[in-house]
Symmetry: C2
Subunit: 381 residues, 2 copies
């Protein structure tokens, strides 16, 4: 039995997405910038997808720029806007953003920008009031994620977007974990910049996109042939882009049903774990991603737990897979103040489209046994 | 009949490359940064590919960084090295580089760097002597392409690399047009940085790589989870990377035969055109890419010619497809001094793996008729 419960790290490609991509590998392969018929075919496919994604986000086609990943979208959004608006120098973000936001901010600090990293409460909520208070005359950009990738907490980005709008400050939100998983409309959240990624929604790896509201002053990261209206030079990844569009289309159809199904399975898993072992839930119990279960088990080595689960065929994660190396407890769990005796026993299960009731039962059967085994082998209490 | 003669713009994916990629879409899909078995499988596939590509280039595995494109590789190489070596401020390049080198240099000029754009002779050769003379105490980097994407001229990068090495200056070469088409070994050319791209060698779009010699001081463009030893954050595009490796493997096997075959067809096409219409060859007759035919036909509108060829099923290009918009004659043709009466009638045919003798015969049959038709319709002589 192999049970994949790490959908926040990445998702399998939906087979029908691969079918949609296939013609663009060997048959319709022209460079979309070519003026001949081979180029026109692929150009059209890309523009069709741009339209699909724009419509899904409530945006206009000319507001979508394709990138190679969510990380690139976050880099483009934050660096691009900051470098284009150097008359100001201040950024507001939170302590629990994804590394591709935090590391960009660290980089910008070295470039002379000033960054406020807002704390969060014990659920992981950024307080809109804190955002308001952090604003200065020099603030260019507020960047707050839609939902946290580790603990699943859904931020109040409607309110934060409104504050940004009222203060004439750009608002960026990293929606890599939420796009197509929970409703998202760029206008209802007053967002100027929204990052999304295909491989988190059963689309291909190597494709992302950035929504950029019309009129946003932004500079490119990649210079070259001037693709994507000069904002992202590179020959377009046609099959990848087509796959992204197909994946969004499918997700759009399934979203409401998936929210219901995953919320049920999520709560079953959370409650089942709580009943069986000494654990605490990280993140908010309701305002959380339908797929996300993040618990800390008391006095347990989480890495060992993961290893044992893996041996039993269950793939979970300690934090996010978005960092290529593990260096101690996650910045998110630190920020929400998980107590010392719990933090090292943290584990994230992220459910997906194919997750079944039986799989949850299996985890609930196996997990307590493993915990007990670890406790007996190394009694650290 | 559909004849694709624009292989410098992009190539169709080799079907066996798609076969090699397929398992990594829906089955082996884990995030390579994940520690569970799903992640280990894909991590292994990526490292296998890194080894393949390194071996092909005569490099070490730890000297290969995967990117999303040749453009990104060029951006990373040039910006990365310049920003990491700010004690100096000078770059040497040529007037005929790809846009992803030239536009990066223009960007760096705005950032306070100084750039020497070396002229070329009538064949498109950069003179190694000119390179030597342009060196100052402030020179960080020399960036000269291996072969030109428009006119096919192969530069003397062995000599230029030697000059860079003797003067302790980083040497970058854009090998996007040459990798796997003509021999390439990073050591014999003394290169510190080499850009390559999968979709130019029958691999997938959306994947490139940068060779970075050990010890090179370089900064990342994309900040985030620290993938690729911190030099390129982003979840790795596993199927794309695997496809890149497979494509290189196939190309390695076929290269010598392809060079022979394409050189024969190239010269047949060049000579045939010369015999039939009033044209001049752009680029060097022998020191040119085996696939490249670039001719300028006297007093003809090249765009019209392309359109008519397209109607007859022949896909060619006026310059490169790497620029998303056409703004007058190409910078390369200007740099080699193509006379006014020829420059607007320039056309590039780039041959590929599947190009046949019959296709060349067909072009040689159709082209003169089209030229005659255009001449009669708009006698601009």
């Amino acid at each position: 039995m192999k049970i994949y419960l790490d959908h926040a790290a990445t998702t399998p490609l939906e087979p029908s997405v691969l079918e949609a991509m296939k013609p663009y590998f060997c048959n319709f392969f022209g460079n979309p910038s070519s003026t001949h018929s081979f180029g026109k075919e692929t150009k059209e496919a890309i523009e069709d997808t741009r339209y699909k994604i724009a419509r899904f986000l409530g945006a206009n086609e000319d507001e979508i720029v394709f990138t190679s990943s969510g990380t690139e979208a976050n880099n483009l959004a934050i660096k691009g806007v900051c470098f284009a608006n150097k008359n100001k120098n201040h950024i507001i973000t939170s302590q629990i953003e994804h590394h591709s936001v935090l590391e960009v901010c660290h980089f910008l600090e070295k470039e002379g920008f000033s960054v406020t990293y807002l704390p969060v409460d014990s659920y992981g909520f950024v307080s809109p009031d804190d955002v308001k208070k952090a604003i200065t005359k020099k603030t260019i950009l507020i960047s707050i994620m839609h939902a946290n990738n580790e603990i699943g907490t859904i931020e109040d980005i409607e309110e934060i977007g409104k504050i940004a709008w009222e203060n004439d400050i750009y608002f960026h939100t990293d929606c890599v974990q939420t796009c197509s998983h929970i409703p998202l409309d760029v206008n209802s959240i007053n967002a100027d910049l929204v990052s999304i990624s295909a491989h988190k929604l059963y689309g291909p790896k190597g494709v992302g996109a950035l929504y950029i509201r019309r009129g946003t002053r932004i500079k490119p990261l990649l210079h070259g042939g001037g693709h994507e209206k000069g904002l992202r030079s590179s020959t377009e990844n046609t099959p990848g882009i087509v796959g992204f569009g197909k994946a969004i289309e499918i997700a759009e159809d399934l979203m409401q049903d998936e929210i219901k199904k995953l919320t049920f399975l999520r709560d079953k898993l959370i409650n089942g774990i709580m009943e069986r072992v000494s654990a605490r839930l990280n993140g908010h119990p309701e305002k959380r991603l339908p797929c996300n279960v993040n618990v800390s088990i008391k006095s347990i080595n989480g890495e060992k737990l993961l290893l044992y689960l893996d041996r039993e065929g269950i793939a979970a994660s300690s934090a996010s897979a978005c960092s290529s190396s593990n260096e101690g407890p996650s910045h998110v769990l630190n920020a929400i103040g998980v107590p010392e005796e719990f933090i090292y026993g943290s584990i994230r299960f992220t459910l997906g489209r194919k997750t079944s009731d039986e799989e949850i039962d299996y985890v609930l059967d196996v997990l307590p046994k493993i915990v007990q085994k670890i406790e007996i082998a190394s009694p650290i209490r």
